[in-house]
């Protein structure tokens, strides 16, 4: 497997501009002759499709929702980072780059991260120009707030709906191109496979989710921006439809899958309420600007709260353990996500958790902020988040503290890409959460929106053009080639196979079991023993799935059960690779915490043996994939133990 990252030579601050100056271009008059497929319409896919359309390429964009505006980028609440230094607090491109590399626990690629920081300012400019109504100060200029892992205020936000507003900006640009005819939009279409012709990605197979029609599409190149795979855990903060299928199908066609075990468990989600639950809801990290995280100091106090004998408000200052402030005084409640999540788990493992039923929960308390700033100020900052909390739990967080617990939120792993965001299959580009490159082993808050838009607005349009310029003007391969027919036939067979098992267990029930295995054994704390068991259990569950799954309804109509079964079939294979990846990575870094490798609860990295990207190559069904390595070189930021103390 060719894993040349193609990092340009030269000073890190000049790499991207030098590289751009040497990328090949396509003459404006010729651009409409090239057909680009973009899969996914979130921040990365939507911005890429719109920008490529504006440039004059002939673009087809696919999404599984009924509108491109509904992609899950929309749910991001808190904000987007940019090194504008509007606050005069010492921010710079270099500092954002440094914080992001450090936040990722030194498992991200330096050159990619630098470029991300470099274009971050342009993203804010672009977003404002498209009408994104970011929060402003009375002077009319943009406001900022702080997020975890940073000591500057560089996060731009639009109430608690920053993802929605940024997506509406990209969606507007995309809608404009659809209206102009440069982009053809295919809603309610799901990508089920990738077509490779002569070693290059030249098309996809989709299922029309309304009438079940399976179709082949040819193009000069394919851009996959299909998000993350958090739903392998069944319960996560992802939307119900989020899945690994598009990325996993690319993997099965030869694309490398990088660092699949790197998942982010977000510290501030609403605790699980019972076994009927279908999803977990995030409470934005921005709340930690004013909310203080605590657990009762002793087990006895926690017990009394669980029994209803005490209310949180009854506990005096001396009885409260503000554990983040205690352990990480310089970052306090704004410690990075992986660290905050682990600290919450530690408190609960110590039986000091307070959520009714399971006990699995700690407090996020606004009492002091309300006393200091008044309820109105807090309402202005977080009103919709407080309402959302009350709506779900039936409790008023202005009166009693929120209860929170960590939940699966984001996946740093993804398809391997080089500096051009091109996978090891030429012509297959991957953007946003679907690729792996920028967040290392832990993503800092407000960095996902930044990366999605950096890829979509600024990186992909330049690098895709370079690839297209090298393709020549022959056009996409003919749709009549056997490659398209074969892959289409395979997809049709698979659909038939799913429908014909006719067992007695629902896809949902099996998904729940898979989620349980993943959360218990490949979740916040991983051990050699647990992962080895998980691999075996997933294999067995996969066997059960193909023997016992029941998919009711028809293949040729709108059939959510079939959609779920198809996605689950891929999760059942992919989950195993995650466990292999976690098992072999004998170190703790960022969100990947191996119990065997720690320093009194802090992650203990092994740079001598694991300062690399693990890239998995598919070798056949039920065969152990091959693990390749891309060594990571740190030339700008010195490898050091992360400290937020």
């Amino acid at each position: 497997m060719n894993l040349d990252a193609k990092i340009p030579a030269g000073k890190i601050s000049e790499k991207w501009s030098n590289h751009k100056a040497h990328l090949k271009l396509v003459n404006p008059a010729n651009r409409r002759k090239y057909h680009v497929i973009v899969v996914g319409s979130g921040l990365a896919g939507g911005a890429a499709a719109a920008s490529l359309g504006e440039m004059g390429y002939n673009v087809s964009c696919f999404c599984y929702q009924d509108s491109p505006r509904r992609a899950h980028s929309i749910a991001a609440q808190g904000g987007i980072n940019a090194a504008k230094n509007y606050q005069n607090d010492g921010d710079s491109i270099y500092r954002l780059f440094y914080d992001t590399v450090k936040g990722g626990d030194f498992r991200a690629r330096e050159a990619n991260v630098y470029r991300l920081a470099e274009v971050s300012g342009n993203i804010i400019d672009q977003a404002v120009a498209t009408g994104v109504p970011f929060a402003r100060e009375y002077g009319g200029l943009l406001d900022n707030r702080s997020f975890g892992g940073a000591q500057v205020s560089r996060t731009f936000y639009a109430r608690g709906q920053t993802g929605q507003q940024l997506l509406l900006g990209a969606y507007g640009a995309l809608s404009r191109q659809i209206g102009l005819g440069t982009v053809k939009m295919y809603n309610r279409h799901e990508m089920l496979d990738l077509v490779v012709v002569n070693g290059h990605a030249k098309g996809i197979i989709t299922r029309n989710m309304v009438d079940g029609k399976i179709e082949a599409w040819n193009a000069d190149c394919v851009v996959v921006c299909t998000g993350g795979y958090g739903n392998v855990f069944f319960l996560s903060t992802n939307a119900q439809g989020c899945n690994v299928t598009a990325a996993y199908r690319c993997y099965k066609r030869g694309a490398g899958f990088a660092n699949p075990c790197f998942t982010q468990i977000h510290p501030t989600c609403i605790p699980v309420h019972g076994d009927q639950q279908s999803k977990l809801t995030l409470m934005s990290e921005s709340l930690r600007n004013d909310g203080r995280v605590w657990a009762p100091k002793t087990r006895e106090l926690a017990q009394k709260i669980l029994k209803g004998e005490l209310k949180p408000g009854d506990l005096s200052e001396a009885d409260r353990d503000y554990y983040l402030e205690r352990k990480y005084p310089s970052f306090g409640n704004l410690a990075p996500r992986d660290i905050s999540s682990r600290a919450a788990k530690e408190a609960c493992d110590d039986k000091r958790g307070i959520a009714p039923g399971s006990g699995l929960g700690v407090y996020l308390d606004f009492r002091d902020a309300i006393n200091r700033l008044g309820e109105n100020k807090i309402r202005e900052r977080y009103g919709n988040l407080f309402e959302m909390y009350e709506c779900i739990t039936g409790e008023n967080p202005y009166k009693s503290p929120m209860m929170i617990f960590p939940a699966v939120h984001y996946t740093m792993g993804g398809l391997w890409v080089d500096y051009n965001l091109q996978s090891n299959i030429p012509g297959l580009f991957v953007g946003g959460e679907a690729n792996f490159s920028d967040h290392g082993a832990n993503r800092l808050g407000a960095s996902a929106l930044m990366q999605g838009l950096a890829d979509g607005y600024f990186v992909l349009p330049a690098t895709v053009s370079d690839y297209l310029a090298s393709c020549g003007l022959g056009g996409a391969p003919s749709i009549d080639l056997p490659e398209y027919k074969e892959v289409k036939a395979q997809v049709e067979d698979r659909t038939k196979k799913l429908m014909s098992v006719k067992g007695d267990v629902s896809p949902r029930a099996i998904h729940q079991k898979l989620g349980h295995i993943m959360w218990e054994k490949c979740g916040m704390a991983r051990t050699k023993e647990g992962l080895t068991q998980a691999i075996q259990e997933i294999k067995e569950l996969r066997g059960e799935f193909w023997k016992k799954v029941r998919v009711v309804g028809e293949g040729e109509s709108l059939n959510p059960e079939l959609e779920r079964a198809g996605r689950l079939a891929d999760f059942l294979e992919f989950g195993e690779i995650m466990c292999h990846d976690a098992l072999i990575r004998e170190e703790s870094c960022g969100g990947h915490f191996r119990v065997e490798h720690q320093d009194a609860g802090e992650a203990k990295r092994d740079d001598a043996n694991f300062a690399h990207v693990a890239v998995w190559e598919y070798t056949g069904d039920d065969k152990m994939p091959i693990r390749h390595q891309e060594e990571l070189k740190y030339e700008e930021v010195k490898l050091a133990t992360r400290s937020y103390k």
Binding site: R70, N122, L142, L282, C391
Partner: protein, 266 residues
């Protein structure tokens, strides 16, 4: 999560329709032991698991984020789009708001421009086509000026944000006796027309979007106010007022000079 969780037994009366063209009907199902802490859609999930067990097709419904922001979920519950609570989407309705033994009636959005695809799933692409005629600011990637060059008074930015909170779910249309889309279009137009960046295209945007809205077959606003009452994001009628005002201004200007009725170049 509140410590006083109970369970409910319910009768669910729900619209079943196989395809766009087939005739639909209400069917009744029983569900048991629904936790009051579960969400409304989790209750439907449980009912669907029951149907799968009985080898019947589950109820098709649109949903995705399940946190009230994607705008995908769309059910009329006991006659009210998004159900009995104010200011929330269907996915945010929790079962603690229902009584044990109750019969709950669930229907799809009912409006001619939103044809039923299956059961509770409707086709809302009419909104897409309206947006494609003007729901944006025309700006190429890479040609933006620095974000702080144009100061925007906080009140103006806040008003634009109020309008931009619309999630495009279509409850406003489903609630309106005229099936008008004026709240949706009003919010879109007001978001962009309020901002200095959006002023250049104010007139052509307004004219194009209203024209597209009419062409899709949406009705006119006659001030029932149902849309505002059911909007999960609190979009208010004054955005319809702004739409009317901006439309009248654009029309009057058009009498004196051409505003470029066809939007060449968007």
């Amino acid at each position: 999560m509140s410590s006083e969780e109970k369970t409910l037994n319910l009768t669910i009366r729900v619209w079943r329709q196989k395809t766009r063209l087939s005739k639909g009907e209400f069917k009744e199902y029983k569900v048991k032991n629904i936790s009051t802490g579960s969400s409304f859609l989790e209750m439907i999930d449980i009912l669907n698991e029951q149907l799968v067990e009985a080898n019947e097709e589950p109820i098709a419904f649109d949903h995705d984020c399940r946190e009230g922001i994607c705008g995908m979920c769309s059910m009329t519950i006991n006659g009210l789009p998004h159900g009995p609570l104010q200011g929330v989407t269907t996915c945010q309705v929790h079962m603690r708001h229902f009584k044990d033994g109750e019969t709950i009636t669930i229907e799809p959005w009912r409006a001619k421009p939103f044809p039923v695809i299956k059961d509770l799933v409707v086709d809302r692409t009419a909104f897409e086509r309206i947006t494609q005629t003007g729901g944006f600011i025309s700006i190429r990637t890479g040609s933006a000026i620095d974000a702080n060059i144009i100061p925007i008074p906080k009140a103006v930015a806040d008003r634009a944000m109020d309008a931009a909170e619309c999630i495009g779910c279509g409850a406003c249309v489903a609630a309106c006796p005229n099936a008008a889309a004026m709240l949706y279009v009003g919010a879109k137009v007001s978001h962009f027309n309020s901002l200095p960046q959006g002023k250049a295209e104010k007139d052509i945007r307004t004219l194009a979007m209203v024209e597209a809205m009419d062409a899709e077959g949406f009705g006119n606003c006659t001030n029932y106010g149902e849309c505002q009452a059911v909007c999960p994001k609190g979009i208010t009628l004054d955005f319809i007022a702004q739409l009317n005002r901006d439309y009248a201004t654009a029309k009057i200007k058009g009498i004196f000079k051409s505003t470029g009725k066809k939007r060449a170049g968007g």
